[in-house]
């Protein structure tokens, strides 16, 4: 009896693991697409397909926190926003920045004044007219500190910004953005030339919202997003789709907005979103044909799909870097007996000891590019080129050579190795991470890399919220770091390291006794923000990244990419390097 029971239990476990894994598809080619490219499936996979050609069933993530484009700060929320709202500018099916609500725009010679001429006949989803005054209202609202939008700081590129007595940005002044009386033009004044300003005009926090329902649902000023908490009359938008129903934590349905300016070219009538982050259920729903598009793929399936070159698997660049962050002011360096200069050399040695290829091949498994810079390789320099073109702060071609170089660096600062290549003195530190995803596995891989030369790394796992607080407060020596860019310009990943930035996890400039003068970096960022010459701006941004990397407090591991699956009968979904998916360009066939 016991043997039978054991057998059945084992069978149940095997079946459950099979269920967890799902079944993989046979295939012929992997579809790699360039950044901002529309993805087109070309061959068929053996997973079931849904043949309702007017409906797309999609999973992006679980329940979005906000549908209000001003309050949203998540990538999945931004995807919903770009499909239901439209800014002055937008992206076409090929990923090119084009006019959206604006018919045209003019830029003054000094690059400080943008005059947008609005399209005629723009309408909200309730049939009411939309003009430049809606943009003025929406931008002022999103920038207002009382709205408490996470991305309000993006409006600081505008002129006449308002600050409190502590220097915190609290809103826009009268002359920052002005709509003409007839609502046909919107004039925006910048404080300094901003090469990525037009990109911002297509970013969700710059989208218009419908004043009447926004204000009606925020009577006492404490519920700014109250108008977009459920489907119904209060949810008014101006994009391709309008929210029809929302069963919280279960599903959402968007239907085509008949008042959308380009509604005739929208082929898909209905978007159904499965609100789930359970990758097993999501993958099962995709395999059974209940979903046409999924943005979450189980990690253990990715390797199989990659190896099989599944034609329904798409992998595109995403502007983000996974890295190790080190606290410049940590007591760790004193405990190791290292001066500031020697500590930088020690950190450089750590950087070289990380076997990035192993991490990407065996842990993350979606062919991420090994990082040799902090700014992702695919990032534009806003001057017609790629910012990191030809730049490498270290090589990743030969790991063994890197290990030897790391040992030489350690010897140069007084460490000694025995005959077996291990350090003769105790070198230990703790690596702080949150346990989700592959973070711990990556930490364990690095732990093994460091142990190979006798460095002991202990992994300390903290729950997400605690981890963020600990890292922000600088109560750590070495920790996990990651950043996905909001817009395609290097400044987005450089300004985070200024002394007073809330994202300065390395704590640069926060110890007055340090030899490092970080005000130089702060000044560089200020210069970058104020420079009109885009070529000069690139040079300054290069200087800033050089200075950042010279500290070796940021050890890049790999650049993010974005993997998703889409049925072979669906095509035309635009996926951008910032993670947004535009479904209004999609088409679906019955086969």
């Amino acid at each position: 009896m016991k043997k039978v029971l054991a057998l059945v239990l084992a069978l149940a476990m095997v079946l459950s693991l099979a269920a967890c894994g799902g079944s993989s598809s046979s295939s012929t080619t992997t579809s790699d697409s360039d950044s901002s490219a529309a993805a087109d499936g070309t061959t068929t996979s053996d997973s079931a397909t849904n043949t309702d050609t007017t409906t797309l069933n999609i999973n992006l993530a679980s329940e979005p926190a906000y549908l209000d484009p001003a309050l949203n700060s998540s990538v999945d929320g931004a995807c919903l926003a770009v499909n239901s709202f439209e800014g002055l500018l937008t992206y076409d099916a090929d990923g090119n920045l084009i006019e959206g609500c604006a018919e045209s725009y003019e830029v003054s010679d000094d690059g400080l004044t943008y005059t947008f001429t609005m399209r005629e006949g723009l309408l909200w989803s309730n049939g009411e007219g939309l003009d430049a005054s809606d943009f003025e209202y929406s931008w002022r609202r999103a920038a207002d500190v009382e709205t408490a939008a996470d991305y309000s700081y993006l409006f600081e590129v505008l002129a006449d910004c308002q600050y409190d007595e502590d220097g915190n940005f609290i809103g826009l002044g009268d002359s920052s953005v002005v709509a003409s009386e007839d609502g046909t033009t919107l004039t925006v004044t910048l404080s300094a030339p901003c090469p990525y300003f037009l990109d911002l005009c297509a970013f969700p926090v710059f989208f218009p919202v419908y004043e009447e329902t926004v204000e009606a649902n925020n009577p006492d000023g404490t519920t700014p997003g109250g108008w977009a908490l459920d489907a119904g009359d209060s949810f008014v938008c101006n994009g391709a789709y309008v929210l029809q129903s929302w069963n919280h934590d279960s599903d959402m349905t968007y239907v085509k907005n008949e008042y959308y300016r380009d509604a005739d070219s929208v082929s898909i009538e209905t978007l159904n979103f499965m609100l789930s982050s359970d990758d097993t259920a999501i993958y099962a729903a995709y395999q059974s044909g209940d979903l046409d598009f999924i943005d979450t793929i189980p990690t253990d399936e990715l390797g199989v799909l990659m190896a099989a070159e599944d034609p329904e698997l798409y992998i595109i660049d995403e502007l983000g870097t996974y890295y190790v962050t080190l606290n410049y002011n940590s007591d760790l360096w004193d405990e190791l007996g290292l001066s500031e200069t020697d500590a930088a050399t020690f950190r450089q040695a750590l950087c070289l000891l990380i076997d990035r290829e192993y991490i990407v091949d065996n842990i993350t498994q979606t062919g991420q590019e090994l990082a040799t810079t902090f700014i992702p390789a695919a990032t534009s320099d806003s001057n017609g080129g790629l910012f990191e073109d030809g730049v490498e702060y270290y090589s990743v071609d030969n790991y063994e050579a890197n290990v030897e170089e790391a040992k030489a660096l350690l010897e140069s600062i007084g460490f000694e190795f025995d005959e077996s290549g291990m350090l003769t003195t105790d070198v230990s530190f703790t690596y702080l991470t949150n346990p989700s995803g592959s973070n711990v596995t990556i930490a364990e891989a690095m732990q093994a890399d460091f142990a190979s030369v006798g460095i002991n790394m202990t992994i300390d796992q903290q729950e997400w919220n605690v981890f963020l607080e600990t890292r922000k407060a600088g109560d750590y020596g070495v920790a996990r770091g990651a950043w996905v860019m909001d817009y395609n310009d290097p400044i987005n990943m450089l300004e985070m390291w200024t002394t007073n930035s809330g994202n300065n996890d390395c704590q640069f400039g926060r110890d007055d006794s340090a030899e490092l003068d970080w005000s130089v970096y702060d000044d560089l960022i200020t210069q970058i923000r104020n420079t009109a010459d885009t070529a000069e701006r690139v040079t300054l941004m290069r200087e800033a990244e050089d200075m950042l990397m010279s500290t070796w407090c940021v050890l890049p591991i790999y650049y993010y990419n974005d993997s998703y699956m889409m049925k072979s009968n669906v095509s035309g979904v635009l996926a951008t390097v910032t993670g947004n998916k535009y479904f209004m360009y999609a088409t679906k066939t019955a086969e």
């Binding site: 009896m1 029971l5 059945v8 239990l9 149940a12 476990m13 079946l15 459950s16 269920a19 967890c20 799902g22 906000y66 309050l71 700060s73 500190v145 009382e146 408490a148 939008a149 996470d150 309000s152 409190d164 502590d166 915190n168 940005f169 609290i170 404490t222 519920t223 700014p224 997003g225 908490l229 069963n247 919280h248 934590d249 279960s250 599903d251 349905t253 159904n272 979103f273 499965m274 789930s276 359970d278 097993t280 259920a281 099962a284 729903a285 059974s288 209940d290 729950e463 997400w464 919220n465 605690v466 963020l468 607080e469 600990t470 922000k472 990651a482 950043w483 930035s501 809330g502 994202n503």
Partner: protein, 303 residues
């Protein structure tokens, strides 16, 4: 009985007050906050949010304000989404309760039947099969069972969709929720039935020629129910308030996930509301359990 109920209700109010007090100060004591994110929120924005939700005030003042609003029926809004907590619970609890109630009924009915069969046919084939089945189900975590059901019935047999917009199937989640309590009730029933059937009054009843069916249901099962009722009360309270695992696998917007997301997001108002709500349900379930004791066994005195 009436006096007992009044006394229990007063005690319940005190219990809930103590739970609210402990929860409020405990959640404020743990590190982290509702406005933390990978990309730091600016100081001005954070200050505005803290002022909006009274988080800039001392914890004791916050508690006072919370309780004052609570007594007026205002559970506040989620710090993470801005939605009214009463709306969140009002929408998600009926979903969880519907599934939970169906699962509880299934578990109780099947558990009592299987437990009785196992006791009456002790050491025979049906008993062996039931023991085997209940052991298997008890040993299997709910996420394994739910995934297994998903794999077999949705993917292999294709009888129900894995997911369908606005049309959740409830059969598989109900089975997932019901299996463990059903197995537990089966084992409890079997044990207590065996105990009851070996009592003198059963022998006496049989000697007096009472029909077997009456012996089993009136004298055997009724006396065997007390331990089952002890388990069923809290079980119903727990199952009605949802299961995060089952809700997640079947994409059901129930209350179960709110308990966990509230804590991970440090969504203080959601933590407080879900805790107090669960406490109220638990207190009511315990009270009903005590009353049912009395109805089932008049020898029990409620004091």
């Amino acid at each position: 009985m009436g006096k007992y109920i009044v006394k229990r209700v007063l005690l319940a109010i005190l219990t809930i007050f103590v739970i609210s007090l402990i929860t409020f100060f405990a959640m404020n004591a743990i590190p982290g906050g509702p406005f933390n994110s990978e990309k730091a929120t600016s100081e001005a924005t954070k200050a505005a949010l803290e002022a909006r939700y009274n988080l800039d005030k001392p914890v004791i003042v916050q508690y006072g304000l919370y309780m004052k609003n609570l007594l007026q029926g205002d559970l506040g809004v989620s710090l993470k989404t801005g939605r009214n907590i009463s709306d969140i619970i009002g929408e998600s609890f009926p979903i969880s309760a519907k599934l939970g109630l169906a699962a509880a009924c299934l578990a109780i009915v099947l558990g009592l039947v299987l437990g009785s069969i196992a006791a009456l046919m002790r050491n025979r084939v049906p008993d062996r099969l039931i023991v085997f089945f209940t052991t298997l189900v008890t040993a299997m975590p709910s996420f394994v069972l739910a995934t297994l059901l998903l794999y077999v019935f949705c993917m292999k047999l294709g009888w129900v969709p894995v997911w369908s917009a606005g049309n959740n199937n409830i059969i598989l989640p109900v089975i997932s929720l019901a299996c463990y309590p059903m197995a537990y009730i089966t084992r409890l029933t079997k044990t207590s039935m065996l105990d009851a059937l070996s009592q003198d009054y059963i022998r006496t009843a049989r000697a007096k020629g009472v029909p077997q069916i009456k012996v089993i249901f009136k004298h055997g099962l009724r006396n065997a129910l007390i331990p089952v009722i002890t388990y069923v009360g809290p079980m119903i309270a727990s199952i009605l308030t949802g299961s995060m695992v089952v809700e997640s696998i079947f994409t059901i917007g129930g209350l179960g996930s709110k308990f966990v997301t509230g804590i991970t997001n440090r969504d203080y108002t959601l933590i407080m509301a879900t805790t107090i709500f669960l406490a109220v349900i638990m207190v009511i379930a315990n009270l009903i359990t005590d009353i049912v004791y009395k109805l089932v066994d008049p020898r029990i005195k409620l004091e």
